[in-house]
């Protein structure tokens, strides 16, 4: 097993473990901070798929945007929000069990699909030219955005604007009357 593999599995394991911790953690603040770890590890995994630009934007957008937004969201809002979050009346409810069962079932099915599928045999994978590790993907992406994916890009920008306005409108304090 080479260095690459060890790192990959390490990051993969930490993604899963941190994600589990995020999910199971009672304390919301802790779980949000653990969410950081998950996102960073994921970004690391993207690198192993030779998507350096994506990894970068993941770190920038999530770690720098989403998470800060989240922390802001409840830290800047009222105290009661924090208080109400804390206790989270626990108990192994039917709901809980059903959720676990559903998730595990889903996991099984997915695993089964993945195992059954031999990816190297797939036609489009065999025909394709894989990205090599010495290429500059940022350059490629820039070209793609401005050529083939121009329309989605523009739509996305407009969409983002709408979200910006909408979020600002919603988050307005005492914004009803």
């Amino acid at each position: 097993m080479g260095q690459e593999q060890i790192l990959f599995y390490f990051f993969g394991a930490s993604v899963l473990i941190s994600a589990l911790c995020v999910v199971l953690m009672r304390n919301l603040v802790r779980s949000i901070f653990l969410f950081f770890v998950t996102l960073f590890c994921l970004a690391a995994l993207y690198l192993f798929a030779l998507a350096d630009f994506i990894a970068l934007s993941q770190v920038v957008i999530y770690a720098g945007g989403v998470l800060v937004l989240m922390l802001f969201a409840f830290m800047l809002s009222s105290r009661e929000l924090l208080n109400s979050i804390k206790p989270a009346v626990s108990g192994f409810k039917v709901n809980h069990l059903a959720g676990i069962l559903t998730s595990i079932l889903f996991l099984f099915i997915l695993f089964r699909v993945i195992i059954k599928t031999n990816f190297n045999q797939l036609m489009w994978i065999q025909k394709s030219i894989p990205i090599t590790s010495n290429e500059n993907t940022a350059h490629q992406i820039g070209i793609h955005i401005m050529t083939a994916y121009l329309l989605p890009f523009e739509i996305l920008s407009i969409f983002l604007l709408m979200v910006l306005i909408g979020a600002a409108h919603l988050a307005r304090k005492g914004g009803k009357e």
Binding site: M70, F119, P130, H144
Partner: protein, 101 residues
């Protein structure tokens, strides 16, 4: 080389963890985090397969779009959560059971 299937395993596991959070958590923010997990699992898949799509770069492009969209979604969702909290004095989804007062 890391085989694609391993990415798949990780992403599937992550998706299921996200699913679990969505289904069982009684905190809206944690549910939101679960949704983020699931989006990230999808992005991981995009990226993993994007490795074999050098010409059109579809996998990485859509991964990018997905990340942006997810971020936008989070922004809106948080705004909604705040409003819901203001109204119901709770962010437990089980207690917010009316759409219109």
């Amino acid at each position: 080389m890391i085989p694609v299937a391993h990415f798949m395993f990780i992403s599937a596991s992550l998706f299921c963890i996200g699913l679990y959070a969505v289904l069982t958590r009684r905190n809206t923010i944690q549910i939101l985090i679960g949704i983020e997990f699931m989006i990230n699992a999808a992005v991981l898949n995009f990226v993993a397969f994007g490795k074999y799509d050098k010409i059109s770069g579809g996998g990485q492009m859509f991964a990018l779009f997905a990340i942006v969209l997810a971020a936008a979604g989070v922004a809106v969702a948080l705004a909604i959560i705040l409003n819901v909290y203001r109204y119901f004095k709770s962010i437990d989804p089980t207690k917010t059971d009316t759409l219109k007062n």
